[in-house]
Symmetry: C2
Subunit: 368 residues, 2 copies
């Protein structure tokens, strides 16, 4: 028997009704039928979800811990999210807040194949924070994207990712982008600057895109796991042990799946080497507490999995670099996209100033 997982749901509910509501969630996320109709003793003892604890969080919210059968999930990442939150995602009163997975499941999913340390080593970055920017806007031809990449690289940036909107469009197919950008970077002979193309389409299309990228010498890839489907994301990770994967939060609808859990923990579990997420005070409404928890979930010792590199982003600018480094410490990659691109003809200089600020920061302080 595979051991149980424990999911914690935050449920908005009257105190008088929470026990019944908790039992209903445990049933919904396991057998999804009246228990009175189940005769099979194996199902009743092993498969039905069990409410293990209910805790009043205040403000009408209860934390409900439910033990779910590991057998219903096996080693399928799609089943993992289906059993954790499939039907309950349709309920307005429930947020999936956390999950504890048994060591065997953590080992089976495997977590980051490279993670923080490898991403640093590939960039020759020592112990400092990493730097990242984005190729955009979508709609530019490959040559224009390659010229942006060239200037970011001249400014000394570590990772240059595609905007997550860049897919396999007629005006800049992945193959054309990869060819143009890698050619531009090769000319500069800066092996520590890495181009990170974004994958799109179904699993077969993503596999073909990876083949193109590998052929061009690319060693880091971006995927939006919630758009791709978690099982497909995990398949790509398993099939490509040499590639590092940056997870993008597109479609993560994180108001219903707690961001530290989904982006920090689950994406890491499935093999994200780095995860992009919105830093507070930018274009998205995360709180400082959420951002800190997310970074800790990605980095902290957990089941022997490698640390996943946090990439706070979403409307950041040079003005916030020192503050972010003080907040997170050195174990992050700073991603500034639009604010650098606004420099237009001064892109190299602006990038270099960003890079200098990250390289020169005093990393004495590390928050808890």
């Amino acid at each position: 028997m595979l051991p149980r997982l424990t999911a914690t749901y935050h449920v908005r509910c009257d105190a008088a009704a929470i026990e019944e509501r908790a039992r209903a969630i445990a049933v919904e996320q396991s057998v999804e039928m009246p228990l009175g109709a189940i005769a099979d003793p194996f199902v009743l003892s092993e498969i039905v979800g069990r409410v293990e604890d209910i805790r009043d969080q205040g403000d009408g919210v209860f934390a409900v811990r439910v033990a779910l059968s590991g057998e219903t999930i096996g080693h399928d990442a799609g089943q993992l999210i289906n059993m954790l939150f499939g039907n309950s995602s349709l309920h307005d009163d429930v947020v999936l807040n956390d999950v504890e997975v048994p060591p065997a499941l953590a080992a089976a999913f495997g977590g980051p194949r490279h993670g923080l340390d490898q991403l640093r080593q590939r960039a020759g970055a020592g112990g400092r924070a990493l730097t990242c920017s984005a190729l955009k806007p979508q709609g530019l031809p490959p040559a224009a994207l390659a010229e942006l990449a060239r200037r970011f690289a001249l400014g000394g940036i570590d990772y240059i990712k595609d905007d997550h909107g860049l897919a396999d469009q007629a005006y800049a197919s992945l193959a054309a982008r990869v060819a143009a950008v890698t050619a531009a970077l090769r000319e500069l002979d800066r092996p520590t600057t890495h181009y990170v193309p974004s994958l799109s389409g179904d699993l077969a299309a993503m596999r073909a895109q990876i083949a193109i990228a590998r052929e061009a010498g690319i060693d880091t890839i971006m995927v939006a796991p919630m758009v791709a489907g978690l099982a497909n994301f995990h398949a790509l990770v398993k099939e490509n042990p040499g590639l590092a994967f940056i997870a993008h939060p597109s479609l993560a609808g994180a108001a219903r799946l707690a961001p530290p859990l989904l982006l920090g923990k689950l994406f890491r579990l499935l093999g994200a080497d780095a995860v992009v997420f919105p830093h507070y005070g930018g274009r998205f409404g995360y709180s400082p507490a959420t951002c800190r928890l997310l970074a800790r979930a990605a980095l902290d010792g957990w089941q022997g999995l490698r640390p996943c590199l946090p990439v706070p982003a979403g409307g950041m600018s040079r003005q916030r670099v020192a503050e972010m480094l003080d907040f997170y410490g050195a174990d992050i990659m700073l991603l500034i996209g639009g604010a650098l691109l606004q420099a237009r003809e001064r892109l190299v200089e602006e990038t270099a100033a960003f890079v200098a600020e990250v390289h020169g920061h005093g990393y004495g302080h590390r928050p808890g």
Copy 2:
């Protein structure tokens, strides 16, 4: 140039700030960078999202219509949802409420390959509503699931679907289930009763499961598109023109993506022949208005696409059959799972009573 789509977002916002918020959404879902940093005239005129209309809906909610470039999406269902709601799904104040797609995009995605009429014809059901039940609980061995299927079929049911929790688990793999259930049904010689296995895993695993199912003569399949990834769901639809597809709402988190849009319209656009959704007054909190809009979105004439069969479910029972048929009319499939299974040794009789009620209903009334 591919023509534009128009997305409608419901945004909770102060009246004084809504114009700026609307422009921010249009930018977030297109170029995701400051417009001042964009020089390219093609990008500015064709790729940047355009706010077309802002309407006060009352209660602090505004309907914001944004025209999005068709070029950014091409014919990729993953890009469709990425461009419609990828980053905005992270914003608490936004619900994606509706989308208008140009005829060429509707034709390219193609909608249901079979839809309402074929599902009826395969069941020999004339003009009445269809009937459906579910094999569960998960954890039962294949022989026990096959025995349930046999009894549902003896009761005269049209479609027998796997519970969406049934995947490829050790205790009842898809191959073992398909073998056991189809053997049981073959013995009864009731070609109008159809077994509908549920797919799981990544795209490659789903393809292998479909091969097993087709080999066994199965002509209808269930997939949860949000778990599988929309692009993978659409790939399966395109590759298997002979199969009918029932879409399951797992992980649809439909509080942030309006249910009539996601379950009624988008799943239909990508080829769902039938869509399972929660009927009001069951285990889920949809309103009667939401259910009616969802059914209309699945059924109404739209871009020449076939109607998608609405399958209201989620805690239904025989007691609600007449009410549901009065509410929806005949163009539905009634899905009762747990409440039938509660009959245990009287499963055939209870199923037959459900079936008789649907077959004998007076279908004169059809709501608007």
